[in-house]
């Protein structure tokens, strides 16, 4: 695994940009698979209807957009990984309550649970998996992981983080996000002072343009506009704004295990059938 990573890093260093880009260091963090990202998805997805049918294999990101409680609200998210295990949470304030959907991927298994607080002032989080303080391991969605790439929190965030990474599969038909421009930019609140633009021409005439905002060398914000056509031929434009609160190469180890008091009650087979 490590060899593969080093090789990937090398290929990348040779093949990618000639000029050093501010996004490079973040790309390396993601490829090393050890990171902590905290973000707010300011423009959440609209409610999912039957029009957006779930494909047979499902999605790789957390299905926050089909959770009615989180519809049309900004969502906070945390993603952390230490090379082996990964933890993702997406959620926010719902009617004065704090509610988060969580997924812990450990030893090739996925644990899904919800954590919540009825009042902001409450000290402890409450956890519900299969029932209060109990979780059961699920198989990973391998097909979704291959076809839709690694998941980073909700679906929008997953796509925009994956846009930073190169397409490492040679046989891939998917479009790659390519560097377009960079430059200085002024902001009233001085939250950022530099930008880098990337663009992808996706299949069937869909175009997505992503702008990564930096304060000096620190990634602060990701904004994106995607242009699509509806089946009737009208333009369908969506924009996304994601504010990055933290993006560091240090994993939060305390999140990478089941929370205290939560028990794993999976019935595992002793010997696996061939």
């Amino acid at each position: 695994m490590k060899k593969f990573l080093i090789l990937a890093l090398l290929i990348f260093a040779v093949s990618f940009h000639v000029e050093a880009s501010r996004l490079d260091s973040y790309r390396e963090i993601l490829l090393s698979n050890s990171y902590t990202i905290k973000y707010t998805n300011v423009t959440p997805a609209p409610r999912v209807t039957n029009k957006d049918r779930v494909e047979l294999y499902g999605k790789s990101g957390l299905a926050a957009e089909s959770n009615d409680f989180l519809t049309n609200k900004p969502k906070d998210g945390v993603i952390t990984a230490d090379g082996q295990n990964k933890y993702e949470e997406v959620g926010g304030e719902v009617d004065g309550k704090q509610l988060y959907m969580c997924r812990l991927s450990k030893n090739g298994e996925d644990f899904f649970f919800t954590k919540y607080k009825n009042k902001e002032s409450e000290r402890k989080w409450k956890y519900v998996g299969t029932r209060r303080n109990r979780v059961v391991a699920n198989d990973k969605n391998y097909i979704a992981e291959i076809l839709e790439n690694e998941s980073y929190g909700d679906a929008d965030m997953s796509r925009l983080i994956n846009a930073i990474l190169p397409n490492s599969n040679e046989n891939s038909q998917q479009a790659e996000y390519k560097f377009v421009a960079q430059g200085e930019i002024e902001d009233e609140d001085d939250n950022y002072n530099f930008y880098e633009d990337y663009r992808a021409d996706l299949d069937s005439g869909k175009v997505e343009i992503v702008r990564y905002y930096f304060k000096d060398n620190e990634l602060k914000k990701i904004a994106s506009a995607s242009l699509d056509k509806t089946p009737s031929g009208e333009d369908y434009v969506r924009r996304y704004i994601i504010e990055i609160e933290k993006f560091s190469p240090v994993p939060e180890e305390n999140l990478l295990q089941l929370p205290k008091g939560v028990k794993d009650e999976t019935k595992r087979k002793k010997s696996k059938e061939a």
Binding site: N50, K51, L56, D139, Y142, I143, E148, N169, Q174
Partner: protein
């Protein structure tokens, strides 16, 4: 002598090669059964034991009654004897362009196929997943890849191709049996990852007994699902399902109108009336 040995080796080599590169003859029979859209399929997987039937354009599906009664039969032996006379509704039915979800002995929700992807349907009523449940399980996709309109096709997953045949021992009905296996594969290519999706079909005595779907990625294999086939035949046994269309009250899909918002479900008539009305 040497020549003879060589020719023998060659002949055996060719023969071996021949057997290793042909599907089981039964595969063609199954392909015909499923493509004729008249079939009876009974299988077990980790979720339970299910029956799927297709007859004259009518598809029905439900968890097997046998399985549902299970060990509780001793509680009501009379029920087990006389139970056969009651209506055997499926869980889901498709007939004349209308999907029905049975919600009780004499009640069902219905939705026309043209409305099933409608934006105004309440997503919580789960109509989008109903056609998939009537589709041939993906483990058997080798026999019928395009199961329209029930299967939601994914353009990123290509149709599987035959790879090889081999022998392997599986437990069938509690006994270890050496099965003839056919392996089919298709490549999955994402932007960052790739893998191979395998379909392994195991035959014993010329009949399909086991269908497994697994994925291979970075040298590791992960099982997706295994079907244990109980029965596949072209005719549905009589009495598998019997739907009393005249006495089943049907409810219209919830389309976000006032009745839906007030959560008042109003009967739209019996199943017979709705089928007569058409889509």
């Amino acid at each position: 002598m040497k020549k003879l040995f060589l020719t023998m080796a060659l002949i055996f080599g060719i023969l071996n090669f021949g057997t290793a590169n042909a599907e089981q003859p039964a595969a063609e029979t199954y392909r015909q059964i499923f493509q004729s859209d008249n079939f009876y399929l009974e299988f077990k997987d980790k979720w339970g034991e299910r029956i799927l039937t297709a007859e004259n354009g009518i598809r029905m599906e439900r968890m097997s009654y046998k399985y549902e009664r299970g060990n509780m039969v001793w509680l009501n032996p009379l029920g087990a004897i006389f139970g056969g006379k009651e209506n055997k509704n499926p869980e889901i039915m498709y007939k004349d362009g209308i999907y029905f979800q049975f919600i009780g002995k004499n009640q069902a929700n219905y939705c026309a196929a043209k409305d099933i992807n409608s934006e105004s349907i309440n997503p919580r009523s789960g109509w989008d997943k109903i056609p998939q449940k009537l589709a041939l399980p993906d483990e058997l996709a080798v026999f019928l890849w395009d199961d329209a309109p029930f299967k939601v096709k994914n353009s990123k997953i290509p149709a599987p191709n035959f790879q090889e045949s081999y022998k392997k021992i599986f437990k069938v009905n509690g006994k270890d049996i050496e099965c003839e296996c056919d392996l089919y594969a298709c490549e999955l290519n994402g932007a960052k990852n790739s893998g191979v999706l395998y379909y392994e079909l195991a035959y014993a005595a010329g009949e399909l007994v086991r269908a497994k779907r697994y994925i291979s990625r970075n040298g590791n294999e992960y099982d997706l699902n295994v079907l244990e086939i109980v029965k596949i035949q072209s005719e549905t046994p009589e009495g598998t399902f019997s739907v009393d269309e005249k006495n089943i009250q049907c409810y219209a899909p919830r389309m976000g109108d006032m009745a839906d918002l007030l959560e008042q479900s109003q009967s739209a008539g019996t199943m017979q009336e709705i089928l007569n009305k058409g889509e």
